[in-house]
């Protein structure tokens, strides 16, 4: 984990209530896709945890949904705004576990960590398949970005207004050998039940610290208590206690 200052380089809307922010700063603590950062916002006591979507040596990109006051204030941050951020939090997706044909399943703001995971898998010479789920056409983002990587990409909407109609758990198809998933817990459960392979699932929890100190984010697993922020947010399908 590292605490450092980042500068907003870009902040723009992507879809309904969904924004993308690129932050310039020291990204050396980020080691795996699926890790998260914890952002200090003026006027709020607790930091806001947001997944890493993509990163390089100079900057990190996040995608956030406007949910409450903090994320709403983030939409008004202009280029040059300086933010105090903890980086390199959580375990992230262990791509060594992933096979050649890994499904990358994202629901809503669970899509962003799948983008960094896709890039990592491609760099390992693997052939991931993206399954991106949204409620409606106005919520869809990053379809083009996944395709631009050369990743086979399926989009699913709950109301059928774009792509295939239904839930991501109904669009897993066949011929995959592993999966990585991030999204609402109901989606994760449905994916876990419907999947025919092993896989990794990324969970959310309300956090006090984000680095393992307060045990505010504990969950039970087959191998004992785990802290979502430090021992997770990624757990194996096999260890999850639903």
């Amino acid at each position: 984990m590292k605490q450092s200052l980042f500068t907003v380089a870009e902040n723009r809307p992507l879809a309904k209530d969904v924004w993308q922010m690129t932050l310039r700063g020291d990204t050396s603590a980020i080691t795996a896709p699926g890790q998260f950062i914890n952002i200090k916002l003026a006027g709020h006591f607790l930091r806001r945890p947001i997944s890493v979507c993509d990163w390089n040596d100079e900057s990190v990109t996040i995608i956030y949904k406007v949910l409450g006051k903090g994320t709403d204030e983030m939409t008004r941050m202009t280029e040059g705004t300086v933010l105090d951020i903890l980086t390199g939090l959580g375990n992230g997706f262990d791509t060594a576990k992933c096979g050649d044909k890994t499904l990358l399943i994202g629901g809503g703001v669970g899509v962003p960590p799948m983008y960094g995971t896709a890039k990592r898998l491609l760099s390992e010479g693997k052939h991931p398949i993206a399954v991106l789920g949204f409620n409606s056409k106005c919520d869809v983002f990053y379809e083009e970005e996944f395709r631009a990587l050369g990743v086979e990409t399926r989009v699913v909407t709950v109301d059928g207004s774009y792509g295939q109609k239904g839930f991501v758990s109904e669009a897993l198809g066949e011929g995959y050998d592993y999966f990585c998933a991030c999204g609402p817990v109901a989606m994760l459960k449905a994916v876990s039940d419907a999947s025919t392979s092993d896989g990794l699932l990324s969970f959310e929890e309300r956090m006090g610290c984000g680095f393992g100190a307060c045990v505010g984010c504990t969950c039970k697993t087959k191998y004992g208590n785990k802290r979502i922020c430090k021992d997770g947010p990624v757990l194996t399908k096999e260890e999850v206690v639903w």
Binding site: C209, G212, C214
Partner: protein
């Protein structure tokens, strides 16, 4: 050179800054961030007789200038703390540690304290009496002077280490509880634990915390904590560890002027992981600014007859 040393119930500590129980685990997470030997000491996670999972999640909510927690005393139990956490701590922390103990009956407290008394790494016992008494309809030991004294006596009879009784602020007369603990033999008083609070999620129209209610702490509670430290200082002669919303060297000095011999920092560690290190580093300059050359000399300095 400003002297930051204070004597905490017979043990001299290098400075009065102590991370508060429940916000510093058993030291390991923070030892990866900085050398925790810069601390006066630290109070480890509330430890109980048996292992505890604690409450279901969500356990954390936010409030203006603070937070609510309903962790529910998750801890591995005293045996594992002694067999695993203390040996691991020995490698990274070379000062006496403060052992924070919780219980749900008088026997629980005595059992756990007796075991920790045998550990040479433990310098002080800090006994959290905010917990519900299972033998008394779940009423907290800390709201009743008689129950608070009973816990104090039970713990004092099993240990020679200094015992700090950690009080709940959810009472009408905190000084009366403190006096009761002092009369029962306590070596010091820690205060305050968290204030009972609540938040409701507008979308779900339901409490945010799975436990519905939780303990509030952070800068929002500082004036309440300071007032209670001030009141307790007027009522007892034993040393006080003041806490509640401390987040700067100035706050440390304010707490000490109110009557604290040492100061704990809780929630601040969670949002500013380097806070305790930075407060200690800032203390000498802030002391000089206010004309303080010996920090110990200002304890209770705001009381003028």
């Amino acid at each position: 050179m400003v002297n930051l040393k204070v004597n905490l119930a017979g043990i001299e500590i290098d400075n009065p800054v102590i991370p508060a129980s429940g916000t510093f685990g058993y030291g390991q997470e923070f030892a990866q961030l900085y050398d925790i030997n810069c601390l006066g000491t630290f109070s480890f996670k509330g430890t109980t007789r048996d292992p505890r999972y604690g409450n279901p999640t969500p356990r954390i909510a936010e409030c203006p200038s603070g937070m609510l927690n309903a962790v529910g005393l998750q801890n591995p139990g005293v045996d594992k703390v002694i067999s695993e956490e203390l040996p691991a701590l020995k490698k990274i922390f070379h000062k006496p540690v403060m052992a924070n103990v919780s219980g749900f009956s008088i026997d629980d407290y005595a059992y756990t304290c007796e075991k920790l008394d045998k550990e040479e790494q433990v310098g002080w016992l800090e006994v959290n009496i905010s917990c519900p008494n299972v033998h008394n309809g779940g009423m907290s030991f800390g709201v009743d002077p008689v129950a608070a004294a009973e816990v104090t006596r039970a713990v004092k009879s099993v240990t020679k280490k200094p015992v700090f009784m950690k009080l709940s602020p959810n009472v009408t007369d905190i000084a009366a509880i403190a006096v009761s603990c002092e009369e029962a033999g306590a070596d010091g008083i820690s205060l305050i634990n968290t204030l009972l609070g609540m938040r409701i999620d507008l979308k779900r129209r339901a409490p945010i915390l799975a436990n519905k209610m939780g303990g509030m702490s952070g800068p929002a509670v500082f004036p309440v904590a300071l007032r209670m430290v001030y009141q307790v200082y007027e009522a007892v002669k034993i040393p006080i560890i003041g806490m509640g919303g401390v987040s700067s060297a100035e706050d440390v000095i304010e707490m000490m002027l109110a009557g604290a011999t040492a100061v704990e920092i809780g929630a601040g560690n969670l949002t500013e992981p380097y806070l305790c290190r930075d407060v200690i580093a800032a203390l000498p300059a802030v002391c000089e600014k206010y004309g303080i050359d010996n920090l110990e000399s200002i304890i209770g300095g705001a009381h003028h007859g």
